[in-house]
């Protein structure tokens, strides 16, 4: 059929257009890659990328060999093609060649649609199988039915002959890919965690949505070639096709975005992406045959169809990782049907009526369902039985990058998260926790720390805000209180002055009188049996006057002189005689009776007898002075002339007003505690009435008995004349507590005795409450600091003795954190049996960021040390990694050592750290003061140096941080290197614990109670064996043949015999060597080439070890599953048994990939038997 076509001349412009379109369609491969990689998690990104690339290669080759012929070769009854297989292209066949090029891109697209849907759990091999199935069978077969003859403008496929129209492949390409994806999804199931049993579906968010969006846009661009090129000529129809394509894609995008936003409340990126793609898929079948409004409608509905289909998938718990089924299958079906609904008859050119056309479109859709979905499902169900399509759960957990392609990115991922966290300060970020790796453990720890920090952070923030608020309001309160207090003080001073000047300057007449003789006389009367004094006075006329005559006037003020018209005080001092009139007898009787009944204050209106004989009316008020309640030796009498009543009332008002204050309690009380006066504010504040308070001890009403009142009073009387300020707890009448700040000022008599106390108080309850809250908040912050410190401490080894079963050395260290979390650390670990790595470091900063930096540093050192025995090289690599992403410009000083425990050789490097000391067994002190490079984390690309030194038995290494030498005494002197050196020279060392304690105690002494300003770290190691304990070593080099195995076993057996190794060690080691070599010889070199295997045998006092090293393909024999050792003979396989034996029988086994070689080391411990050997 194509042979006929050769003769036709195709215009070069058409060739150029279709080739250009091919390139655009090729671009869709890129688009799919970016889209899918962006919508999946980064742990699978490599797998997604490889799939998208590999499937293109596979589909191209298969399509060339087979698919193209099947699809476009000469038809056999409209069912399949019969020629054009593995066709060779030539200039003479320009059109078929270009046509092939275009079609092969289509085939690639159909295949790659699948990859996104099944991402994150499908085995790579299974995907390749599916790629072969689609490119070699389902796609070309269905394509034949719809498109055969396309290249020569004929419709020879059986579907096309019935009038099925699918312009650029809504069904042929997109639905075929979509049906395949759906079939596979049903078999492999959802990704772990997508549909939890006990909760709503969990959205698995893509790793890089901008990249996904870029991919979608690339697809959009590629689609112009996909649809545009399907015209197969550069005619006038191309413009319409392209415009319809752009229109429908945009309509799908906008409508899906809008409908999605309406449904979930916000525009979501996947709605935008998949809506656009849905619109594009829908228009693909009919871009040539509809007008613009129809194109808009088809695209818009396509977008909605995608949303609906996504919802359905979720409902049926089908997990399509990128939404390929909704986009390519659902929108593809819609587009195919839309062709029947909207297609213009003359452009469709099928000669069918509307319903007939719709019917045949439906037939096409149904055919695809049966021939692609059903067939694929059947094949996949069977194939899945033979070899599961899905990766094991652990592989899914780890990510397909690692499990399928051996790529590892966890350190990178971890750093990315930490970096983002440092930049954004977003504590909600979590590092990916990849199980079974050290970085994973660190990440888990890091997350745990972040968890604590985040929880605490929000609380802390709250507390912080609260605190600030409190401090602010407290400050203003205090300021107010101070203002109040000084106002009150002024007022009080005024009060004191008033009391003092009452006498002289008062406008009121005041008398100071002595009633002591009156008191005695009254007592005598009462003792004589009189119970009712008033009646007694009535019965004995003149008696009251007689008693009243006993009153002595001590002093009077100017107002008194004025009132009575006296010239001098002398006229009124002494007896009252001249001032009494006819009514005085009854007035005195009343007054004396009242005082005798215990009243301290008596007030009455009485007749005023002036010296010139005039009379008037006065209010006489008598008060027994504080301190004179018993003796009545001092009594104040005020006389207010009320002859002119109005004037009198005014004067009284002034006196009262002076005692009132709006917001200050003013109280006057007597030395024995009785309240004489309290202003209205005070009474209101405490909720008592004047009657309840006045005349009673304050502790009966508003003073709490144990509120600090007694101490206050004691302080007042201990120092007469001094004011006392205090805060005491008082109570309201309802029992609620109220805190009052008092200023208590005593009033003294001439002998400096306190006669009264004026207390001015301010309500500080609210301030006090706030102070308590501030205190509680401070305690909380203190606690948070402790949490962070605990985390720091959890990052350094704390179990001592650290290596109880190792006799070659002993190690001890302490890390005493300063009050804030600092950045010190130490670490030590065995790299392998013979190498100990130990290190001390100090991060330049403090607080949580320093602790994080420390954690990273420690991790880097440890991970590099696992495969590297050179401190210089470890430091160089760690420094480079620290420098990357070090936004905060922190750095760390590190001293790093690796000690060969067999020989005592210590290799070390110093990155700006305090030089450690070695105290030799001879008592000499060596300072390791070589510098090997700058502090780590500051400058990248530095090559660090290293030095070596040989330790002998009894040598001590002492390492420390500057918290030791810079420890400060109370008068701020540093401890210093000199002091440390002297200490180490002068003191004997007999244990690392003792050495560390020696240094630490010296610092504590030096600090002498001063607060520790920096973390203190001290590490000490004692090297114990100086003799080379490596007794013998044998190296065997053998070819990778079974004969070689025999010879190696022979040599080892002889060597063991010479060394006198007893059978129970020799036999298992021989067995282990046999099995290990067997493995290497059989599996390490699949190409059968000749290689050398090296075996090194070490015998020490305690251990018989062999290392087998080969340069074959990387393989960890200990990573295999264990065999079932309980099966019966018939079921029993032998695979993995040798390794199982090695694992079980050996005391040590490990695998390393070192310098491009597999190194497997196993060892068996020698016990008591070996001692005999040594002594023999």
């Amino acid at each position: 059929m194509i042979a006929v076509q050769v003769l036709q001349l195709v215009p070069e412009a058409d060739l150029l257009w279709v080739m250009t379109a091919s390139v655009l369609v090729f671009l869709m491969q890129v688009g799919f890659l970016a889209l899918e990689a962006g919508l999946t998690r980064s742990k699978n990104a490599i797998n997604v990328a490889i799939k998208n690339m590999a499937d293109f290669g596979i589909s191209t080759l298969l399509f060339w060999v087979f698919g193209f012929g099947l699809m476009f070769g000469t038809t056999q009854g409209g069912w399949f093609g019969t020629d054009e297989f593995a066709v060779s292209f030539s200039e003479a066949r320009a059109w078929p060649t270009v046509f092939f090029l275009f079609q092969v891109m289509f085939c690639g697209t159909a295949v790659t649609i699948l990859s996104g849907a099944v991402a994150e759990r499908l085995r790579f091999g299974a995907y390749m199988f599916l790629a072969v199935l689609v490119a070699g069978l389902t796609y070309p077969l269905f394509g034949h039915w719809a498109w055969n003859g396309l290249d020569i403008g004929e419709s020879t496929g059986w579907l096309a002959q019935r009038g099925f129209v699918d312009f650029a492949g809504s069904t042929v390409v997109h639905s075929v890919g979509g049906w395949t994806a759906l079939a596979v999804l049903l078999v492999i199931g959802a990704r772990a965690g997508r549909f939890p049993d006990d909760g709503p579906p969990q959205k698995i968010v893509g790793s890089n949505l901008p990249m996904a969006t870029l991919g979608a846009l690339l697809l959009f661009v590629g689609w112009l070639g996909f649809n545009g090129g399907s015209t197969l000529s550069l005619g006038p129809s191309v413009g319409r096709v392209l415009a319809n394509t752009v229109l429908a894609g945009s309509a799908g995008m906008v409508v899906a975005m809008a409908v999605g936003a309406k449904l979930v409340g916000r525009p979501e990126i996947d709605h935008v992406i998949n809506g656009a793609l849905g619109g594009l898929v829908a228009i693909t079948a009919n871009a040539h045959a509809v007008d613009s409004p129809a194109a808009f409608a088809i695209g818009a509905i396509g977008g909605v169809v995608v949303l609906g289909a996504s919802h359905l998938l979720e409902r049926f718990r089908i997990d399509d990782a990128v939404g390929a089924v909704p986009v390519h299958l659902a929108a593809g079906i819609w587009g195919t049907m839309a062709t029947g609904i909207f297609g213009e008859f003359d452009l469709l050119g099928t000669g069918l009526g509307r319903m007939q056309q719709i019917g045949v479109q439906a037939l096409g859709v149904g055919t695809a369902f049966v021939s692609v979905f059903c067939v694929t499902l059947a094949i996949v169900v069977v194939a899945n039985r033979i070899r599961p399509f899905r990766v094991p759960p652990e592989a899914e957990e780890v990510g397909l990058n690692v499990s399928e392609h051996g790529a590892t990115t966890e350190l990178l991922d971890f750093f990315q998260v930490m970096d983002t966290q440092t930049k954004t300060g977003d504590l909600a970020l979590r590092a990916p926790v990849e199980p079974f790796t050290e970085v994973g453990q660190i990440a888990a720890r890091y997350n745990q720390m972040m968890e604590t920090l985040e929880t605490n952070d929000s609380e802390l923030k709250e507390y912080h805000d609260h605190l600030e608020e409190q401090v602010e309001s407290r400050t203003s309160d205090l300021r107010q209180a101070n203002a109040d207090l000084s106002a009150a003080q002024i007022e009080m001073a005024a009060n004191e002055a008033r009391f003092r000047s009452l006498f002289e300057d008062s406008p009121v007449s005041v008398w100071e009188e002595d009633y002591s003789r009156v008191r005695i006389a009254l007592d005598e009367i009462i003792e004589s049996g009189v119970t009712d004094l008033r009646a007694h006075f009535r019965e004995h006329a003149g008696l009251a006057g007689e008693v009243g005559a006993l009153i002595r006037v001590e002093n009077i003020n100017q107002a008194t002189l004025d009132l009575y018209g006296a010239e001098s005080k002398d006229q009124l001092l002494g007896s009252l005689e001249g001032l009494l009139g006819e009514s005085s007898e009854s007035e005195l009787a009343d007054q004396l009776a009242a005082l005798a009944e215990g009243q301290l204050r008596y007030e009455a209106e009485s007749v005023l007898y002036r010296l010139n004989g005039e009379t008037g009316m006065a209010i006489v008020s008598v008060s027994i002075a504080p301190g004179a309640q018993e003796s009545w030796s001092k009594v104040f009498v005020s006389v207010v002339d009320i002859t002119d009543r109005q004037e009198a009332e005014r004067l009284l008002g002034v006196a009262l007003e002076q005692l009132e204050s709006t917001d200050t309690i003013i109280e006057r009380w007597t030395p024995d505690g009785r309240v004489v006066e309290m202003n209205q504010f005070g009474l209101d504040l405490f909720g008592f009435s004047a009657d309840e308070v006045i005349g009673r001890d304050g502790s009966e009403t508003f003073r709490s008995p144990d509120g600090g009142w007694e101490e206050e009073r004691a302080a007042l009387f201990a120092n007469p004349g001094e004011s006392v300020e205090s805060e005491t707890e008082c109570r309201r009448s309802d029992g609620t507590p109220i805190w009052v700040a008092w200023r208590n000022s005593p009033i003294l008599d001439e002998d400096n005795n306190i006669v009264a106390v004026i207390s001015i108080g301010i309500d500080i309850t609210e301030r006090r409450d706030m102070e308590m809250q501030v205190k509680a908040a401070k305690e909380r912050m203190e606690k948070e600091l402790n949490v962070a410190r605990d985390i720091q401490m959890s990052m350094v080894p704390l179990d001592f003795p650290a290596f109880p079963d190792r006799e070659e050395f002993s190690i001890y260290a302490i890390l005493e954190p300063a009050r804030e979390v600092g950045g010190d650390f130490y670490d030590f670990f065995l790299i392998d049996h013979d190498h100990l790595c130990f290190t001390v470091g100090d991060v330049s900063d403090k607080g949580v960021p320093a602790a994080l930096f420390m954690a990273v540093t420690k991790t880097l050192i440890k991970s590099h040390a696992a495969s590297d025995l050179s401190p210089a090289s470890i430091m160089t690599a760690a420094n480079d990694e620290l420098c990357e992403n070090n936004e905060s410009s922190m750095f760390v000083t590190i001293f790093l050592c690796i000690l060969d425990l067999r020989t005592g050789e210590m290799v070390y490097t110093n990155a700006g750290h305090n030089p450690p000391y070695i105290k030799t067994s001879a008592g000499e002190l060596i300072t390791l003061d070589q510098r090997h490079g700058p502090v780590a984390g500051a400058i990248g690309g530095v090559a660090y140096g290293e030095d070596r030194l040989k330790l002998t038995a009894g040598d001590y290494v002492v390492m420390f941080t500057d918290g030791v030498t810079e420890a400060m005494s109370p008068n701020r002197e540093l401890y210093s290197e000199d002091a440390l050196e002297t200490l180490l020279i002068d003191s004997g060392l007999d244990e690392p614990t003792q050495a560390v304690a020696l240094v630490y105690d010296a610092i504590v002494d030096h600090q002498d109670g001063a607060e520790q300003s920096d973390d203190i770290t001290v590490l000490s190691l004692e090297f114990k064996s100086s003799e080379e304990i490596l007794a013998e070593r044998l190296v065997i080099v053998m070819p990778n043949t079974l004969e070689g195995v025999g010879s190696a076993l022979q040599q080892l057996d002889e060597f063991a015999g010479e060394e006198g190794i007893e059978d129970k060690v020799r036999r298992p080691v021989l067995l282990a060597l046999d099995d290990l070599l067997n493995n290497v010889v059989s599996y390490a070199f699949p190409d059968g080439s000749d290689h050398e295997i090296e075996i090194s045998v070490d015998v020490s006092a305690h251990r018989f070890a062999i290392s087998v090293s080969d340069d074959g393909m990387p393989f960890n024999p200990f990573g295999l599953d264990l065999p079932d050792t309980t099966a019966s003979i018939a079921d029993r396989g032998i695979g993995g048994l040798g390794i199982h034996l090695v694992r079980t029988l050996m005391d040590e086994y490990r695998y390393e990939r070192r310098g491009g070689r597999n190194v497997v080391t196993v060892a068996k411990y020698l016990d008591s038997g070996s001692t005999e050997r040594e002594s023999a």
Binding site: R1067, L1071, D1074, L1141, L1145
Partner: protein
Amino acid sequence: MNITDEKSGDVVIARFEGSLDTRTASDAMSHLDALVEGGSSQIVVDFTSTDFVSSAGLRVLLATAKKLGATGWLRLFGLNPSVQEVFDVSGFSTIFSIFDDEASALSA
């Protein structure tokens, strides 16, 4: 490895000398194969002089046991502690009949 056979009625006693490992497994296999093909269905292996047995050796014994199937049997005795441990660890002591000495192996 040296293997010497001894007949005791219908039973063949194969005495293994040396160690049963990668070096010797194929010889041992062909020796036992020859016995089975020659009609011996009751075989006792004497391990008294066997130093150690590796997984290659276990493979030989397993293959022989499978060949004998239900119609015959394979019995073992004289395992030194190291060999016994290998049988225990691999689970082979539960699927083979192991005896302390020749007499009990023959009389069982």
